[in-house]
Amino acid sequence: MSAFLLRRFGQAVLLLFIVSMIGFAILHLAPGGPLSQFAAGGDMSQEDLDRIAEQLGLNRALPIQYAEWLWRMLAGDWGRSYRDGQPVLHIIGSHIGATLELMLTSTLLAMLIGAWIGILGAIRRYSLFDSLATIGAMIALSIPTFWFGLVVIYVFSVGLGWLPSGNRYTIGDGSLLNQIHHLIGPVMVLALVSTAVWSRYMRSSMLEVINQDYVRTARAKGLSERSILVRHAFRNALLPMITITGLHVPMLLSGALVTETVFTWPGMGRLFLDSISYRDYPVVMGVLMLSAVLVLLGSLIADLLYGIADPRISRSG
């Protein structure tokens, strides 16, 4: 197990290295590069721009710039924002909480509802409920998240007036209830896709388990149907879901970006979008790297948990 862990960790580090190279190359090879932000102001002479390039080290060869950036980054210095001079890590740190809150809540919700739909669909295969769930999941996967967000705002905020149309809390009212009230809309939107994914995979995982020998044994022993489903089938059907959840992180992050934009949620996605508009390269690079880290962490943790949850999997080889 530890050998497997070590190798898996090594792979992740290598991947992260490649990821950083791709990200750095994309941002610096694009027309203009980081200097374009200063050039866009229009009131700078070429000498000014040259001096800025000199001071920021942007006039050196790209590999050298990359090596320096990587070195500083590993030392914990992710640079300073072009916009307000704050350290990038500090800026990201003040936004990541809102995003994680949104992501974790909707994942939890999606797991509960998705698992329930999936199990019911598997037990009553080809029933009306199952067909509707299948179609519903397919449509949920196809609806543009931002449009669903607009619909939710229109129905629940504009029409019914039940939910606030944005922000994390009302200014001056930091109570938990107020925060939860603001969380409902964005979570509904972000959880939609995850719920669809969970219900689909839960259904097929459950169908696979239901036909296993140990379920037949349990049934032959005369256990109640409820106990068979919960103690024998469900627990085993959950195993593959660990992997699904781990691999779902990129989709969740993408969804969070869009949801945060629609609901003016002060998270990483909005930060990324704002930084892009300002061409705030250090922050853009920081968020890109952090999202890659989260994605890798997701699959790494999923692998780990799977190993713990399912001792049959030998990872020595």
Binding site: I135, V151, Y154, L253, L257, I276, S291
Partner: protein
């Protein structure tokens, strides 16, 4: 549908093709048939529709601003400038569908080539290519799309290339896995022993046998590309007005959500319909082309 099925399908007369096992499986998949019909209808409407309407997508009827849908001469109402929503929707459909298809073609070309090479030359080349694929998959696709689209001058062509450049990885993975499995089969070994060139083995022997999962991936890829276009256009970095696209119609509708909700409703429904249809068809094709699903 196995390879031989597919080969036969290519030479079958239409009525025999319609009754071939793969096609029967597809037809039994009602949602896939619905999806295929919807795609055809939507494409026809977008191609022919604008000629049949009395308004063009850019005709400004300033006295009919914010006309309600289903009430006057403007069937789906008008936007803040008095432009006909239906005309704009259909013209936008041309752009959005064209972006979806072209991005898919480019993404497939990249994905197939990389998957072929990585699967055929395992070893260092294959490992290096697949690690590159893995690394690209570490970026949530929207983040990468936005990061690049903000830096370049957005145009229809650049958006197509961008979407393709960020959505070929799944295809590469599918093709790589297929090629690696097919490579060990007898017909491939036979080709090697005949002394066939590497490119001949890859493109004439291996690739045609991996066509089923490629077709499925291509269909799902169109759905993904249409969604991706709408996302970046909605966020303001994609197709720029006055060229209409489903995504940027929604972006401009956002400010009138309370006063003119129909501006947001129709493009949203159209995107959902288009994407759902491609997903349904992809699902149906997967069932139809997967020999393990061979039911009596």
């Amino acid at each position: 549908m196995s390879v031989s099925d597919l080969d036969r399908a290519a030479v079958l007369p239409p009525e025999r093709l319609w009754n071939s096992p793969g096609f029967r499986r597809f037809r039994r998949h009602k949602l896939a048939v619905f999806g295929a019909a919807a795609i055809v209808a939507l494409t026809l409407a977008c191609v022919i529709g604008p000629w049949l309407l009395p308004y063009t997508d850019t005709y400004i009827d300033i006295r009919a601003r914010f006309a309600l849908p289903f009430t006057g001469p403007h069937i789906l109402g008008t936007d803040p400038l008095g432009r006909d929503i239906l005309a704009r929707l259909l013209m936008a459909g041309r752009i959005s569908l064209a972006v979806g298809f072209s991005a898919m073609m480019i993404a497939m070309a990249i994905g197939i080539c990389i998957g072929l090479v990585a699967g055929f030359y395992e070893g260092v080349v294959g490992a290096a290519l697949m690690r590159f694929v893995d690394a690209m998959l570490c970026f949530p696709s929207i983040f990468l799309l936005l990061a690049i689209s903000a830096l370049i001058q957005p145009s229809v062509a650049s958006i197509v290339i961008l979407i393709a450049a960020t959505s070929w990885m799944e295809v590469a993975r599918v093709v790589e896995a297929q090629i690696r499995a097919l490579k060990t089969r007898e017909f491939a070994q036979a080709a090697v022993s005949f002394g066939a060139s590497h490119s001949r083995i890859m493109f004439r022997e291996l690739l045609p046998n991996a066509i089923a999962p490629i077709i499925v991936a291509a269909t799902l890829n169109v759905a993904h590309a249409i969604l991706a276009e709408s996302y970046i256009s909605f966020l303001g970095f994609g197709i720029q007005p006055p060229t209409p696209s489903w995504g940027n119609m929604l972006e401009s509708a956002q400010s009138y959500l309370t006063s003119a909700p129909w501006l947001a409703i129709f493009p949203g429904i159209t995107i959902t319909l288009a994407v759902t249809s491609f997903n349904f068809v992809g699902d149906g094709l997967r069932d139809a082309l997967d020999p393990r699903m061979d039911l009596p």
